[in-house]
Symmetry: C2
Subunit: 245 residues, 2 copies
DNA sequence: TCTCGGGTGGCACTCGGTGTCTTATAGTGA
DNA sequence: TCACTATAAGACACCGAGTGCCACCCGAGA
């Protein structure tokens, strides 16, 4: 057991710092809370804070670095038999699971993050790294190496890369959407199930999109008949008419 | 003429600060460059730098705040006759146009941004604001108000919102993809055309998916039939339809 | 000439973040 | 039980980003 005690203590320090930071941020705001106060509340020295967190913002977030490494490891070790979108879905579920593991903290964190621009940016940056990892994985699975040969501007490979990036963005967007809804709801209910359902809905719709298809044509006549429902937005009717003539 | 001289000078100061910052960042790195050095190179006081830019990172970016305001204004003032995805496409083209307006600076900025995490995060945060604006616009166009009635978890409206967010993410992702390729290529060629083409490719595939299903109030059989002649101006048809419901 | 207002310079101050040295503590081998 | 070592933590000094405040300059009127 390689230093079990050490690690345990380290974890405790980190957790008490996180708890102290979260409470202080909630009570008196992010900018109004100094690192000194957090350290004091956690009973450690100021310098120790920065041994556990790179920047002040990191204090209240889950360990995105570690999570990202896990995600990448999961994707890299995924069997070539499992469809790429399934692997990515599993990865997204892994992420949401860490939030679900401690709903109360997650909700508190959400409350703070919602109000502090600096924290929002930090979170956005974190999720964008997941998105990057997903896109890279999809490219790899499609036989497109990461190097991205400097000038494939309009090539078919570029098109596929773009679509993979869009898929990755869709997955991350869906994850964030479901997660935010869960957090707004106070962290009650099965996020994992919700995300699983939402993702399969989105990806099932997107999968056929990977194969192009054309639009249906219409008969032509001198008179144009448009049948639509009341409540249909004008622009849609306009579009239909434009397409028909 | 409300202080023309003042504004002109102010613009000049800002531009010279940007130029100085970009050159210094390229020459000796972002972290290794102090605001003092930038200010000195631009021939102004350190304090003046922070009158033009909120943070050091802002110095080399285009004015995203102003651009975002323009985008929102464009979307808000878009005719109800133009399809939402077209309006969003136009907005994305507006953004890429500002980069295309000064390719050399854009490429330099890209070189720096690529290497400095702090700058990357800043840029990601900026683009995410565009994404937000796009999604909000699509929701509005679909009759979904911004308030987001606290618990629509699984409702059809929630599904619509999610899809709009995915579309917005797809647009921004495509924008970034095309822009990055252009920047990597040294800023040569017609980005606007590339983006326009890429977006129409992506959105043409995504549009049927967006309209697919999960449409609230879909089973109303309140049908509207419009009969008209080909060549009738759209606005007249629109008028007729509006009057009929 | 006086005044008013916006842009600027100068200055002091707080605080986030880092480098570095020292200290405490837990595990290891004799 | 006693050093020995590695790792975490404390103490301290330092840099630089960002802010508040006051004084200054200068063009536009009254």
């Amino acid at each position: 057991m390689e230093g079990r005690g050490h690690v345990a203590v380290r974890r405790d320090v980190r957790r008490s710092l996180t708890a102290a930071a979260l409470d202080l941020f909630l009570a008196q705001g992010f900018d109004e809370t100094t690192v000194d106060q957090i350290a004091e509340a956690a009973g450690v020295a100021r310098r120790t804070f920065f041994r556990h967190f790179r920047v002040k913002e990191d204090a209240i977030f889950p360990d995105h670095d570690a999570m990202l490494r896990e995600i990448v490891a999961h994707l890299d070790s995924a069997s070539p038999l499992v469809p790429p979108l399934t692997a990515v879905t599993e990865a997204a579920l892994m992420v949401v699971d860490t939030y679900a593991a401690d709903p109360e903290t997650s909700v508190k964190r959400y409350e703070v993050t919602r109000r502090v621009p600096s924290l929002r940016e930090h979170e956005i940056a974190a999720t964008s790294r997941y998105q990057r990892a997903f896109a890279a994985f999809l490219n790899e699975r499609d036989g497109l190496g990461t190097p991205e040969g400097l000038d494939e501007r309009d090539g078919a490979a570029g098109q596929r890369r773009l679509r993979h990036e869009v898929i990755a963005a869709a997955v991350v967007t869906t994850h964030n959407h479901v997660l935010r809804a869960w957090l707004r709801g106070g962290g009650t209910g099965d996020v994992r199930a919700h995300l699983s359902e939402a993702l399969s809905g989105i990806l099932a719709g997107l999968e056929p999109w990977l194969d192009d298809r054309a639009r249906p044509g219409d008969d032509e006549d001198d008179v144009l008949v448009v049948v639509t429902r009341r409540g249909t937005p004008l622009w849609r009717i306009a579009q239909e008419i434009e397409a028909a003539r």
